[in-house]
Symmetry: C2
Subunit: 296 residues, 2 copies
Amino acid sequence: MKTYLDCIPCFFKQALEAARTAGASTKTQKKILDELAKILPKISLTSSPPEIGRVIYALVSEITGKNDPYLKEKKRSNKLALGIYDKLARKIASAGDKLLFAVELAIAGNIIDYGVKNSLNVDAELVKILDKEEKIIKKESKTIFDYAGFKQVLRHAKNILYLADNAGEVVFDRILIEQIKSMDKDKQIVYAVKEKPVINDALRQDAVVCGIKKIARIVSSGSGAPGTVLSLCSKKFLSMYRKADMVISKGQGNFEALSNAKRSVFFLFMAKCPVIAKDVGCKVGDIILCYHGSKK
Amino acid sequence: MKTYLDCIPCFFKQALEAARTAGASTKTQKKILDELAKILPKISLTSSPPEIGRVIYALVSEITGKNDPYLKEKKRSNKLALGIYDKLARKIASAGDKLLFAVELAIAGNIIDYGVKNSLNVDAELVKILDKEEKIIKKESKTIFDYAGFKQVLRHAKNILYLADNAGEVVFDRILIEQIKSMDKDKQIVYAVKEKPVINDALRQDAVVCGIKKIARIVSSGSGAPGTVLSLCSKKFLSMYRKADMVISKGQGNFEALSNAKRSVFFLFMAKCPVIAKDVGCKVGDIILCYHGSKK
């Protein structure tokens, strides 16, 4: 996805939030916004938002000297999600269509990220998710939801590359991966995290803490962009990306980075801003399961 | 009110909206944002938002060559509000506390401005206001509402300076001014509009079209800032400002410009953004009637 002009005010907002999370003084916060302003005229709108996001968060780290401002928040999210893992697993066990329920949960887990960025009461939201019956996501929010396509490609996929989104949310990914493995234990799943800290995106340690290690091989994309920007990924990762029978991409950042990808990718995410909702053709808050590219 | 760092992303958003309203191409829109980015490091946060707003809207006019991008919108707002004038007047006539109702209506009229900036269905909102009973504004939205103080100062004021906010809203101001005059026809009211086009702020022609001429003297503040920034106002206006027995200031822009004023001012506005809500100590959407400064 290209960057829209409406993303520009949001870049300043994100920089300010990151600066504050890094504990920067008001003076330093202003300095960060001023530096971003200097970069802005050089930014090409043909870059995807995560490419620009990478520059912004690197700027915040450089100026504040804080390598991982969201570390505390990520640990909190992991703990929170792990605390409800048993409940989630029981829900799956009693569900009619277990795979569908796991897919919906994996997308619902995206709410943690939304909470981090919008001061939402995530605990309360998660309780709501858990208290609901099997249909955790309202039908009207599923405007683009190609579950049939997802199931069909999944059935024949032996090697699956799963692109992680945020810390905490990893536990919800684990539920989906466990469900996939329970349907066919021979499926090989690679779980790709970011190479370097960027916002609350999952790193290797988050995947390990959230229990991914037992069910999938954890790899790094080789990049610290908040989305899988292929031009920034490692050769090793790119090889896996090309060879995988199926790519499952979680979150808005990965969608923004890969929506024009040449290979087929399944995107699972919640549309969190008006720009992406317009680009996709849905409403803010809708959950999306969509398939891009030609089937391999 | 000083400018907060949170205002900075919003400045870019406002510039983008104004550029689009002026019919600028995507390339020109980007140019405007780039130029704003160049100005940003020079902006002092001790300036009030309307001082910076003036620079932004002048930039948009300069680059697009459109002197009054919101002209059509202002005409539409005037027409819309004039179309319900009779209904508003009848509502006042049957109200218990006519002055209170007129004050509430004057603040409610601020919704027109909000609609212009947030693509709200203003017509529907106005119908809602009109369909409600006497209490048009919910009690819980009136967190800061010093009606007793307003009445007391008004009683003794012979010369009143009324600072206009936006086109359309002027009709609601007219209702309040008519009510004040009906209580004491000897009160002299001066209605101050902006000198030059800026966003949808009321100009002399808006005041004339909306029928202010019959009940008040229309003057210009001498400035094109979207708020009464005293350092930019004309000497003639400043003299009236200093001599007035009572100043009634409409809208958020005038509050931002005058909240630290040395003389007493009554502010009537709707808190339209989180920054101002935090500054004032209320919620977004609350209506405010507050008194600043020592009584004259």
